[in-house]
């Protein structure tokens, strides 16, 4: 409303008239603007504490908070596998031996993978299930190959899933071996493949 260098009596008078024309009181507005602090003339600091019953008038406030921002792109979707063979990935040496670590437990049962000597590592046999948290609106496929790089193939066997109502069904892949992620209500165990 008032630019720097424009505070001259004729200009102020003109502004006051403009305010009056729209029903506003310029002097009252200035008085309110100047009254920006409470009456603290009676205060005597004899102790320090927080007592909302003795709170003096104030205007405005400030709240500090620390915010940590994770590295990466906001909303980034990262492909993940949570468990293989019923064992959480954190319990499997997936980089070298391909066997469970000593002390490994089953995800569902929390029982040792080797109940007779849980310092021993375990291999996997027969049907190996794969579990992963779903990304709604995305599709996935799983490749397997031998450790020497031979026999690369897609896992396209239908996956047995159980919904939140306890009903079982098979989930089939689409073209190219891609499966649609099912919502947890449709796949309560987050099964994504059978190897």
């Amino acid at each position: 409303m008032l630019k720097s260098g424009a505070l001259k009596p004729p200009a102020v008078a003109a502004k006051i008239e403009e305010w009056k024309a729209v029903g506003l009181d310029f002097q009252a507005a200035l008085a309110t603007l100047e009254d920006t602090s409470g009456d603290v003339s009676y205060e005597q600091l004899d102790c320090l504490g927080l007592d909302y019953n003795r709170e003096v008038p104030y205007w405005g406030n400030r709240l500090d908070a620390h915010v940590q921002i994770r590295p990466g792109t906001p909303g980034e979707i990262v492909p993940k596998i949570g468990a293989i063979g019923g064992v959480g990935l954190a319990y499997i040496d997936t980089a070298f031996t391909g066997m469970t670590y000593p002390g490994a437990v089953f995800g569902f049962y929390s029982t040792p993978t080797d109940p007779y000597d849980n310092t021993r590592m375990c291999a996997f046999g027969s049907l190996v299930t794969v579990q992963a948290a779903p990304y709604f609106g995305y599709k996935y496929r799983i490749w397997v190959q031998k450790a020497n790089g031979a026999s690369l193939q897609l896992l396209t066997d239908p996956v047995c899933v159980i919904d939140s109502g306890g009903n079982g069904s098979y989930h089939f892949p689409n073209l190219g071996g891609f499966f649609t992620y099912l919502d947890v209500s449709q796949n309560i165990n987050s099964m994504v493949a059978n190897a």
Binding site: I77, V78, P79, K80, I81, I84, G85, G86, V87, L89, I92, D93, T94, A95, F96, T97, G98, M99, T100, F106, F108, Y109, T111, T113, D114, P115, Y116, D117, R120, M121, C122, A123, F124, G125, S126, L127, V128, T129, V130, A132, Y135, G137, Y138, K139, Y140, R141, I142, W143, V144, Q145, A147, L155, F178, V192, A195
Partner: protein, 137 residues
């Protein structure tokens, strides 16, 4: 194994690293080595057995039947049950006179050998079994 991720529109979103998983679909070996079919009641039979696997779990030796009407003594061995035997076999023995006098009859020596492989993604392991039937009563 590795998992690849795409959107519904099919732009490639990325993949996991290759995860290495060791497979074992070979059953353990179970062998009982005996030196005859018939033994004199009251003797202690001492022979050998083999229980081995690349990923060994445990073994169990038993005598069948072992019921109220036909009780039997159980084989014993110095080999701990969660240790595999030597290639040539470890000794086991069966005292046919203690703690009970086993009746002159046909008995079965049953050997179960388990590996510690996670089979079908659930607790429980691959088993190899061998039974050595004796002659009937």
């Amino acid at each position: 194994m590795r998992l690849e991720l795409i959107t519904f529109g099919e732009p490639f979103q990325g993949s996991t690293p290759w995860y290495r998983i060791q497979m074992d679909n070979t059953a353990p070996s179970a062998t009982i080595i005996v030196d005859g079919d018939e033994y004199t009641p009251g003797v202690t039979i001492t022979v050998e057995f083999v229980a081995r696997d690349l990923h060994f779990g445990h073994f169990g030796l038993s005598t069948l039947p072992n019921t109220i009407t036909t009780p039997s003594n159980q084989p014993s061995t110095a080999t701990p049950s969660n240790t595999e035997t030597s290639l040539s076999g470890d000794a086991w023995s069966l005292n046919t006179a203690s703690p009970i006098n086993m009746r002159p009859c046909g008995y079965v020596i049953h050997l179960e050998v388990y590996d510690n492989t996670i089979v079908n993604s659930v607790p429980g392991h691959t088993m190899g079994t061998l039974t050595m039937p004796a002659s009937a009563c």
